[in-house]
């Protein structure tokens, strides 16, 4: 997979980036602009099915995701970029199922026809994550060229979560040689933030689960899982956990507060989207990348480190 810097990608923000994760939306757009990358939002998109619709019926989720891919195709795009792990995962899953499962193909065709739009066929557009977008178009050197103050002195635990790499069969481009992303030990976020001057710590829980699917319906389980992630990051010496998924990010922030209020376990590590960190490295103001829109308050730490 390679992206040229000049290619305009279709942008699929998804519901979270319009709601609780506006800071991720804001910072993704801001760094795209700062890096000279072009994107255009998919017209009249719909929810990809998130983590819930598949539990009603997985084929409905495939349809919901495929509708967005078909619009991107109609708009003439070759690539769809999704910053949210859930969206990214679902679009990838739809692509895989439509190429491999005849029943999914049948349901998608039936629903698309009734809904009155083109039936998406696999292979027409490629779904990429915001990490792929930056890594493949400008890469580490592109970041280094744009970095102003950099992230010197900031230790980061990079947290990728579940949906960026699992299940492995829906990500055929991963684990394909030296420059590709790794399924078991992803490193794109580490690479980009290191290029921005930060120090990525060895974080063994980078693909562990935060319990995001049950963040409200089984809060105690989620709080325990999140607390484990936070404490491990602190034990690894991290000041910040960098995230790339709105569900993980909100879950980490929510349950950091809940762990303190309900379990009496306080942790101090801050949680920021990797796009916010890259933006700050490139000299964008905290407000430009939405630091004030996060639940937690990372501003004092950033000031302390002399980064803003």
């Amino acid at each position: 997979m390679s992206s040229s810097k000049d290619e305009t990608v279709a942008y699929y923000p998804g519901c979270a980036l319009e709601g609780t994760a506006q800071s991720y939306d804001r910072s993704t757009k801001a760094i795209g602009k700062a890096l000279g990358l072009k994107m255009k939002e998919i017209d009249n998109w719909n929810c990809c099915g998130a983590m819930e619709v598949k539990n009603i019926d997985p084929k409905l989720q495939t349809y919901l995701s495929a509708r967005n891919l078909s619009i991107a195709e109609d708009m003439g795009f070759k690539k769809v970029m999704a910053p949210c792990n859930g969206c990214y995962h679902n679009l990838k899953k739809a692509e895989f199922d439509l190429a491999n499962d005849p029943k999914s193909v049948e349901v998608n065709a039936r629903l698309s026809k009734k809904a009155g739009h083109k039936t998406y066929e696999p292979g027409k557009v490629e779904t990429i994550h915001a990490l792929d977008w930056i890594k493949d178009s400008v890469g580490e050197q592109g970041i280094k060229d744009k970095v102003k103050g950099g992230l010197k002195g900031l230790k980061i635990a990079n947290y990728y979560g579940c949906m960026y790499t699992r299940p492995r069969h829906i990500f055929p481009e991963k684990d394909q040689g030296e420059n590709s992303e790794s399924i078991d030990k992803p490193h794109y976020m580490d690479d980009l933030l290191d290029a921005a001057g930060a120090e990525s710590v060895e974080y063994p829980l980078k693909t562990s689960c935060c319990g995001g699917a049950h963040t409200l319906s089984d809060s105690d389980t989620s709080t325990k899982l999140v607390l484990n992630l936070l404490q491990a990051a602190e034990a690894c010496g991290a000041d910040v956990i960098a995230t790339e998924c709105p569900t993980c990010h909100t879950g980490l922030e929510m349950h950091q507060i809940r762990a303190e209020k309900v379990f009496g376990k306080k942790t101090n590590v801050k949680i920021l989207y990797f796009t916010q960190l890259l933006g700050i490295a490139m000299g964008l103001s905290p407000r430009k990348v939405g630091v004030h829109e996060n639940f937690g308050d990372a501003l004092p730490l950033l000031k302390d480190k002399g980064l803003v």
Partner: protein, 253 residues
């Protein structure tokens, strides 16, 4: 993480003689331990067929019991009773009574997909967990778990408008699951945010609860989805023989 398997042997079936001498050999205490054999006769022969007919359970027959799923499982690491391999075994054997012992935790699967990635036989254990939780609820063995209330409320919004608004999802879920909005950690979280946000943004957040995001011209998609969901619902009830039960209940008054 090693697998800590649940014990299949019930304590009351373990027999031990405090004093026992056989042919002049002292076998008192644990030297004489034996397990009383048990005969299982009440197999539910329909269980595997029913669960494999629900979404996610399709490939349960492929399982060869290697235990990779349980070994990889996020929830098993916190609670060793949460054991996908064992449940798949029970379902395939038709041992319903044994499965029902764990009925109240099966819904806790967080869909991290570690099992599905680890499985060498493409069983999709994550899907099997969801199918099993649905089966338990449809058969009346468990009340509707919170996760299902959440999934249904969320999906309903998506089907209706094409998008969701997370504030509405949250309030809707807390009210349907009988929880209060007035929880100290929730208040502290929201207050922490409100303190930092400028007035314009607060206004925008407030407006989002009135002008809900939606996909334009969604009507036909909605109708197509709702028709499909209704069809699936009928199929599910037929598969599990639920309509029969309801009819019988009605006949019996």
């Amino acid at each position: 993480m090693p697998i800590h398997e649940v014990s299949l042997i019930k304590p009351e079936n373990i027999i031990e003689h405090e004093e026992l001498i056989i042919d002049g050999v002292d076998v008192s205490g644990h030297w004489s331990t034996f397990i009383e054999p048990r005969a299982v006769t009440d197999y539910n022969e329909e269980m595997e067929k029913e669960i494999s007919g629900l979404a996610g359970g399709e490939f349960i027959h492929r399982c060869w019991q290697c235990g990779s799923c349980t070994n990889a499982c996020t929830i098993n690491a916190m609670n060793s009773d949460f054991n996908p391999r064992y449940w798949i075994y029970l379902i395939r054997m038709g041992m319903e009574d044994e499965l029902l012992i764990d009925k109240d935790i099966i819904w806790q699967c967080v869909s991290c997909n570690k099992c599905t990635s680890a499985c060498p036989r493409d069983v999709n254990p994550e899907g099997v967990m969801k199918a099993t939780a649905h089966w338990l609820e449809l058969k009346g063995h468990t009340p509707k778990p919170n996760s299902m209330i959440f999934d249904e409320g969320f999906s309903e919004q998506v089907f209706k408008t094409g998008k969701i608004e997370d504030g509405l999802v949250l309030r809707d879920f807390l009210s349907k699951s009988g929880q209060s909005l007035n929880q100290p950690w929730l208040i502290s979280m929201v207050f922490g945010l409100v303190k930092k946000l400028p007035l314009t943004m607060l206004t925008r957040l407030g407006l989002a609860t009135f002008f809900r995001p939606k996909t334009r011209d969604w009507g036909n998609a909605r109708a197509a989805i709702e028709e499909y969901v209704a069809e699936k619902e009928v199929e599910k009830h037929q598969l599990l023989g639920l309509d029969g039960h309801q009819q019988k209940d009605m006949e019996n008054g």
